[in-house]
């Protein structure tokens, strides 16, 4: 593949940019495959230029493909780390999330968080991370970990919303805890085994349907309750299906 000098310079420029992207891979992976990936990237650019096509489509494709690869390897790398290291990462993630309202408060009067709000939010987020790490370590498959992630995220969202409503003096959200309670009891009975967890999550979804119906009869806000509870029902069912998939994989 012979390319004009100008082309070679731009390929080298893109290769340097690609090298920056590759730095986002975990170090052991980068040390092992980084050079080969850069060589392959440069070969692809040269091939593209030799065929007289522009580089833009190739660059977009390769950068998306590599970004997906980085996310996968980062998750895999995190799984290999010790529990304390993973919790340290969760600590950093929670701190980054809490910076968002802190920064927003400097620019708008609509976000008003006190010290207690930051503490409660920090405990909730870090607690969710802790529960995720403890429970997901019981399963080996990606489906199990994803199921745990969705269930924990949905429970966190439920509690967060209820606390937000209570802060505004609206106690109508108390009923939504029913879903979390059913999930907790189900998880204990299932002893975190995938088949039992699938049943617990389906039961949680049913409890959410009952809660929605009761709330609609009591308060009569149909559209709002259907949308809100529909979201949570979808999350519980999604998690249940993933647990069921994990149980099928485990039995094979």
């Amino acid at each position: 593949m012979v390319c004009p000098v100008g082309y070679r310079h731009s390929v080298e420029r893109y290769r340097r940019l690609y090298a920056v992207l590759i730095r986002l891979y975990p170090k052991p992976y980068r040390d092992r495959f980084g050079e080969g990936m850069q060589q392959t990237f440069r070969d692809l650019c040269r091939e593209r230029m030799a065929s007289g096509k522009t580089l833009l489509a190739l660059l977009v494709w390769v950068f998306i493909d590599t970004s997906v690869g980085i996310a996968k390897e980062r998750i895999a790398h995190m799984r290999e780390q010790s529990f304390s290291k993973r919790m340290a990462v969760w600590g950093i993630v929670v701190a980054c999330v809490l910076v968002i309202p802190l920064v927003a408060m400097q620019f708008t009067s609509e976000v008003v968080w006190g010290l207690a709000d930051f503490v409660v939010a920090g405990i909730l987020l870090f607690g969710a991370g802790l529960v995720y790490e403890l429970v997901s370590s019981r399963g080996n498959s990606l489906a199990y970990r994803m199921a745990v992630g969705i269930a924990v995220a949905a429970a966190l969202l439920l509690i967060w919303m209820d606390l937000a409503l209570a802060t505004e003096g609206d106690n109508s959200g108390g009923l939504i805890y029913v879903g979390v309670v059913v999930l907790g009891i189900g998880a204990v009975i299932a002893r975190l085994r995938p088949r039992g967890m699938a049943r617990a999550l389906f039961a949680t979804a049913v409890a959410q349907v009952v809660v929605a119906v009761v709330a609609m009869v009591a308060w009569g806000q149909y559209v709002e309750f259907i949308i809100l509870n529909g979201l949570f029902i979808a999350l519980w069912v999604g998690s249940a299906l993933l647990f069921r998939r994990a149980s099928v994989t485990a039995s094979q």
Binding site: M1, Y29, R32, F33, E35, G36, M37, Q39, T40, F41, D43, L44, W61, V62, I64, D65, T66, S67, V68, G69, I70, K72, E73
Partner: protein, 120 residues
């Protein structure tokens, strides 16, 4: 990573990489080109997918790293070559056998298009 049983199904990416390496050792870009040629351009892997698969295949014992050397058809840079292992050949053979069985069943049920069933 624990080894898969040779009889377990392979992902399309893994199957194509094993096919590409079945005739000779190749470096990353050469694997990519061979996969594209073998699949008639239908399977395209970016460097992220390719090297992710290579990493997992090395861990699973399907392929291994060979020498770092220059490709006479390319440039002056030395590249790492990858080669299929005995276990990788076994897994590839098992996968191709599975495909053959599927085609046989499809032929028995007369599900194959005319052109294909003549070739089987």
């Amino acid at each position: 990573m624990k080894r898969k049983e040779p009889g377990k199904p392979l992902t399309p990416a893994v199957l194509h990489i094993l096919l590409a390496l079945s005739t000779r050792e190749r470096h990353g870009y050469a694997i990519m080109k061979q996969v594209k040629a073998d699949s008639d351009g239908k399977v395209k892997m970016g460097p992220g997918t390719l090297y992710g698969s290579i990493g997992r295949m090395i861990q699973a014992g399907l392929i291994c790293e060979g020498d770092k050397k220059r490709d006479p058809e390319m440039d002056d840079e030395r590249r790492i070559y990858y080669k299929i292992t005995g276990y990788g050949r076994e897994a590839l053979r098992a996968e191709l056998e599975r495909y053959r069985e599927v085609v046989t069943v499809a032929k028995e049920k007369q599900l194959l298009p005319d052109g294909l069933s003549r070739g089987v």
